[in-house]
């Protein structure tokens, strides 16, 4: 937010970022003006505490989703049916770890540490996307995740490239490029199955049947039940409501499903000429809240495995720290101790 207005009001660029020392009302006016003018808020700018807290929560949960989201797909790395598919899947899971790293870095610009955020994930105090609590039961699920889950993520995330907080917006630009690539690969995987043997076609249809509704739930609760939406939109963290994005996603998917030769499991799905959109059936919000509360098919398994990787890796992290302390100049030859 390197604007003249902000500088004038703040008086200095080195003011206390957490507690706008003294002139809070002035800081708020400058912040509101910057947001209104579509300028980026940067780490050293003054920002309301609630804005900071909302971003920490959202970016951290986004990072956690990338990390937990590695599990359902990694589940198929060792069983991928061709070497080409195996290479694509490995590269994708690697990208997800990389996305987690970008996002934790973005969160750290707000004054929280990665260790603290991981601790909150492991203790269940911060959440991750509910979609990753569903199991990958067949190879086709890898394709359905690419097409539908990554597709929903992109629909959600493209507007975040214009989010008011600079570090988050820039992370999203990089992430969205890679996600679109994954989404096309997922689509292509399903297309190969759909056009393959009858068994492969059935496998693809079954996967789409199981992943469709959970994907629609990725946009979050309906607008009238979304507690953070109004404030996030006013701050330009969010640009569109949950229901708007969900509608956009359905409209994109319907023709894609047709060209895949697969059906979407919703008898109420049809084009509405008047609205210029597809109408679709009611989402089972009971299931959504249940999964969110920890009672989905894989919640326990996902978190246990994440905690286990972290705990079993503790001695490795301690070794790296001990080694670094012994060799502070980065040279690894002689021990100074």
């Amino acid at each position: 937010m390197a604007t003249a207005a902000a500088r004038d009001t703040a008086g200095s660029q080195t003011y206390d970022v957490r507690h706008g020392a003294g002139d809070t009302a002035g800081h708020e006016r400058a912040f509101d003006a910057a947001v209104a003018a579509d300028e980026r808020i940067e780490p050293r700018d003054w920002m309301p505490d609630a804005y900071r807290a909302t971003l920490v929560r959202q970016i951290a949960q986004h990072a956690h989703s990338e990390i937990i989201g590695m599990q359902p797909e990694a589940n198929w790395i060792t069983r991928a049916p061709s070497l080409r598919r195996k290479a694509i899947l490995m590269a994708k899971v690697q990208d997800e770890a990389g996305h987690g790293l970008y996002l934790y870095s973005a969160a750290e610009t707000l004054g929280v540490g990665r260790d603290e955020l991981l601790d909150k994930l492991h203790s269940g105090r911060q959440k991750y996307s509910s979609i990753f609590n569903y199991p990958t039961l067949t190879w086709a699920d890898v394709g359905a995740i690419g097409w539908l889950v990554d597709g929903a993520a992109i629909t959600n995330q493209v507007p975040l490239c214009r989010c008011s907080y600079g570090p988050y917006a820039r992370a999203m630009v990089r992430i969205c490029k890679e996600e679109s690539f994954h989404q096309r690969q997922g689509y292509e995987l399903l297309l190969a199955l759909s056009r393959g043997t009858p068994e492969q076609h059935a496998m693809a249809q079954d996967a789409v049947d199981r992943w469709w509704w959970p994907s629609l739930m990725m946009f979050g609760p309906p607008d009238d039940e979304s507690q953070h939406s109004a404030q996030s939109m006013a701050w330009k963290i969010k640009r569109h409501s949950n229901d708007e994005l969900r509608q956009r996603f359905v409209d994109i998917c319907v023709p894609q499903a047709a060209s895949l030769g697969l059906t979407l499991p919703d008898p109420d799905l049809r084009w509405n000429e008047e609205r210029g959109h597809h109408d679709f059936g009611a989402i089972d919000w009971t299931e959504f809240w249940d999964v969110l509360k920890g009672n989905g098919p894989c919640n326990e398994q996902r978190l246990t495995r994440r905690r286990q990787a972290h705990e079993e890796g503790a001695w490795v992290r301690e070794a790296a720290a001990a080694h670094a302390a012994k060799h502070t100049n980065g040279e690894t030859g002689a021990t100074r101790a």
Binding site: I77, A87, V93
Partner: protein
């Protein structure tokens, strides 16, 4: 069903041996996805696995159809080293396995890249990848060996446990025209130097293990390998003739 290489050239045996090494180790590293001790290692291990899988695909394609060779051969037809099929164990075990193998692969590909044989083009690209793999393994060997008491103990255990599988790397392979003795000397020098800097002891035990050295190259493998193949091949074998 046993698939034999389609192209029977003088170099098929060597392509299969090197291709199977890369394929099998790539698979083992793929098992780490989601389990690594830090996020940076999720990225690094997957990166190495991908490089190796890329090498495997080129090498297996020199010998026939990559998927037929990977998915339709049985255990006795695989020509990889026993070293690369060893289960991951803890992080130290994975790192030491990588150190031993990458040091060998780096030296071998450096030599192949400088010649004009059929493996020179592949080796030219792979030597860059393997120098990164070796650096990664050496850096971690130093951190673990010269880290905490626990990491030192685990690293030494891995160094000792895997030592018996290292002699096999220097057995002659048909179609691979390299000076094995010189390779072995250079390997021992590099690994000894790294272990020394990591405050680890170079084992004085045999480097050939229970099977005669070269057993993996004859299709004689260790027990965990069959289980690994069962998992790797199951889906492909369940849909004969399908394309993916």
């Amino acid at each position: 069903m046993t698939t034999t290489p389609a192209k029977d050239t003088a170099h098929t045996t060597a392509a299969l041996a090197l291709g199977d090494d890369a394929l099998v180790l790539s698979h083992r590293l793929g098992e780490w996805a989601g389990h690594a001790p830090v996020l940076e290692e999720e990225v690094a291990l997957a990166n190495i696995a991908l490089d190796l899988l890329g090498q495997a695909r080129v090498l297996l394609s020199m010998a026939g159809d990559e998927d037929e060779l990977a998915y339709l051969r049985e255990e006795r037809a695989f020509r990889n080293l026993q070293l690369v099929e060893q289960p991951n164990g803890d992080f130290a075990h994975t790192i030491v396995r990588q150190l031993y193998f990458s040091a060998h692969q780096y030296l071998l590909y450096t030599e192949l890249a400088s010649g004009d044989g059929p493996f020179a083009p592949l080796a030219g690209k792979a030597v860059k990848e393997t120098s990164y793999h070796l650096d990664h393994a050496e850096q971690w060997t130093l951190r673990l060996g010269d880290g905490t008491d626990e990491s030192h103990r685990r690293a030494q255990r891995a160094v000792d446990a895997l030592w018996r599988y290292t002699g096999e790397m220097f057995q002659p392979v048909e179609g691979l025209d390299v000076d094995r003795a010189a390779l072995e000397t250079a390997w021992l020098e590099r690994v000894t130097e790294t272990l020394g800097r990591a405050t680890l002891t170079v084992p004085d035990g045999s480097r050939t293990g229970a099977w005669a050295a070269g057993a993996g190259r004859q299709g004689l493998h260790t027990e965990p390998f069959g289980r690994m193949l069962a998992e790797m091949q199951h889906l492909h074998r369940s849909h004969p003739g399908a394309t993916w």
